[in-house]
Structures are given as C-alpha cells and as structure tokens.
Amino acid sequence: MNKIFAYAIALLVLVGLTATVLIVTGVIPSANKSSRSGIISGAPQIGGEFSLVNNKGKSVTEKDFQGKMMLVFFGYTFCPDVCPTEMQTFSQVMTELGVDAEEVIPVFITVDPARDTVEVMDEFVAAFHPSIVGLTGSEEQIIHVKKQYRAYGQKVEGEDKEYYLVDHTSFTYLMGKDGQLATVFSYGTTTDEMIKKIRELL
C-alpha cells in the first residue's frame, strides 16, 4: 500500500519537474503569457523607448536616462511588503556606491497608474532615497513600458474595488549606459551583488 503511494508521489514529482524544465527552456509555453519566461531565458530586446511622467510631474522618455545605468523595478505604492523592501535595497545600493552612484539612476515604475499619481509616487520614492525616480503615466503608457520590459503587472479582480492588489514582476533590471539590458536580478539579490555588477559596468 505505502509503496504504491510512494511510487505515485515519485511519478507526480517527476512529471512536475519535467514540465517545469520544458516550460523554463521554452519547449512548452507557460500558461501565464510568454512575457515572464522570456526574462528568465535572457531574451534580448528588453527596454527601449518609453514615455512616462516622473514624480515631479515632468514628462520623460528613455533619452532622459541616456548615458547612465538604470536600476528598474516595477511595483505599486499600495504594496506594503515587497516594494518597500526593493526600494530599501535601491537606497542601500545608492548609498554604498558612494561617488559611483552618479552613474546610476534607480527607477520605480508603477504598474498601478490609476492610484499612483505623481504626488503619491513622489511621497513614496522620497521615503527611501532622494535619487530614486518614480515613473507613472497613462494606462496606455504603462502598458507600453511593461511590454518593452516584458514586465508583468495585473490587477487582481475581486470584491475589493478600492484596496485591490496587483500582481507584478519581482525582478530588478540593470540597464547599461547604452540602454541595453545588462542583467536581471531576481528578488532577494543582495545589495553587495548588485553593487558588484554595477561596478563591473562602470
């Protein structure tokens, strides 16, 4: 009896692992849109042109960041957990970079433009580090920049109209001075690792 059970579990695990490998390697497209696995396999063409509004209310494009590295994170200010954590990491990276910090612009792009107005964004980023640029925009502008970065951000539809949650990509993109993707940091990457990578690109 127990043996059969054990075999059944083993089989399930095997099937699961195989499926995972196939999804990650791209043999089977992931059910949750191709945009996510595309990042993992390090596909090119991440980044590029965008048009957004910064936390001071000024319209900006990718050209405003030219010649600098960018640390890019997608999130929303209503997120009390993961987003402040990542902003804290940005803040620490910028502080510890010292003079090299001048070569880097940390950017927080909202996936929730309906609630993240310029004022809300300004307050949010200012709570972490003065160098962090918060970017919001129209629904269309945000959809476009998400597409450019193959980022994911989806409002969770539910009974909650005012305090809805938003699922979002947890990666941090490091864009080189040429505007090309240098690397993607997974959530939980330490400040030391980020700094090391940034210094390699100086």
Binding site: E123, F128, S170
Partner: protein, 171 residues
C-alpha cells in the same frame, strides 16, 4: 501501528477538549496568555498618502497544542487582514489568508517582509516612524491577544536595528 495511531488521535482529541475549557478561562482572565507569545511587533512607516500598510511580528506557540491565528483587528485601518506574499515564476502575488495561519505546538511563525504580514487596508491615520499602535490577534484556542506595533523606517527590514525591540506588550 494502527493502535498507536488511534491512541494518538485519542490523545489529541482529549487535549482539544481540555483546551476548550482552559482557553475560555484564559480569554476571561484578560491578558495572561498561557500558550501564545507575540513579540517584536513592528511596522514600516508609510507616507501621508499611503492607504495601506503592513505589520510584522513573531508568533510563538509555547503550548502543547496546535493553534491557529484566525483573524486580526485594528483601529488604525478600515480593514485588517492576514496576508502572505508568494512568488511564482518571478511574479509577486499578495494573498489574503482567509483561513488564517497555523501555529503548531512549539512552533514559531515569522511575520516578516516577503512572507506573512498583517495587512492594514484603508489607513485612517499616517503610520509615522517612532509611533506605535495596537493590533489584536485572534487565535482559535488562545483567544485574543493585543500587541503594540512599533513603527520603524519606511524601508526597515526588521526590529534588529537595536532599541525598542524589548518594548513589546506581553501582559
């Protein structure tokens, strides 16, 4: 084999019955919480425009029976919920845990960034660094426990940055 199992179930059932009686008296006798200890409750400062916040703490069950954190309450927000953060495929999802969180006998549950948290929805007042506010945790067996939540910096990661961490309200 089977006999042991039956005996174990009987023992658990027995404990459960006893505990029902005890826990009612614990709740009645206000703040002497025999089995559950909550410590190092803290929150991140939120700006004036922020409408939501999160609170973190350590919940330890030093009793002999499993318990469950079934709900949370506070006056600082319109709604207070138990949440967790899940990462699937590189995507962050916050989920409400309507059933609550198990706290096994002798076990500890860490409410910390990136994991379980008390979610404060509809903040009625700004959560300012250095201030504190009460949150009530409701356990299935241990009943209600009120804890003081100390507000840290917006990007705080825990209570480890010295000070205040001993100022928890236990009894």
């Amino acid at each position: 084999m089977n006999f042991i199992k039956i005996a174990r179930i009987a023992a658990v059932a027995g404990f459960f019955t006893i505990s029902l009686n005890i826990s009612t008296s614990i709740v009645a006798s206000s703040e002497e919480h025999a089995s559950i200890i909550v410590k190092e409750a803290w929150a991140r400062a939120r700006t004036g425009k922020a409408k939501v916040g999160g609170a973190y703490m350590i919940v330890h069950n030093r009793g002999r029976e499993d318990d469950r954190l079934i709900s949370v309450r506070s006056n600082i927000a319109e709604r207070t919920e138990i949440h967790t953060t899940n990462m699937t495929d590189g995507v962050m999802k916050m989920l409400r845990l309507k059933e609550g969180v198990d706290v096994k006998a002798g076990g500890t549950i860490m409410l910390e960034p990136g994991s379980y948290h008390v979610m404060l929805l509809g903040l009625k007042e700004p959560v300012i660094e250095g201030k504190k506010f009460p949150v009530t945790l409701v356990f299935k067996k241990a009943g209600e426990i009120e804890v003081m939540v100390f507000v840290k910096k917006a990007g705080a990661m825990g209570t480890m940055d010295h000070s205040k961490m001993k100022h928890k309200k236990m009894n």
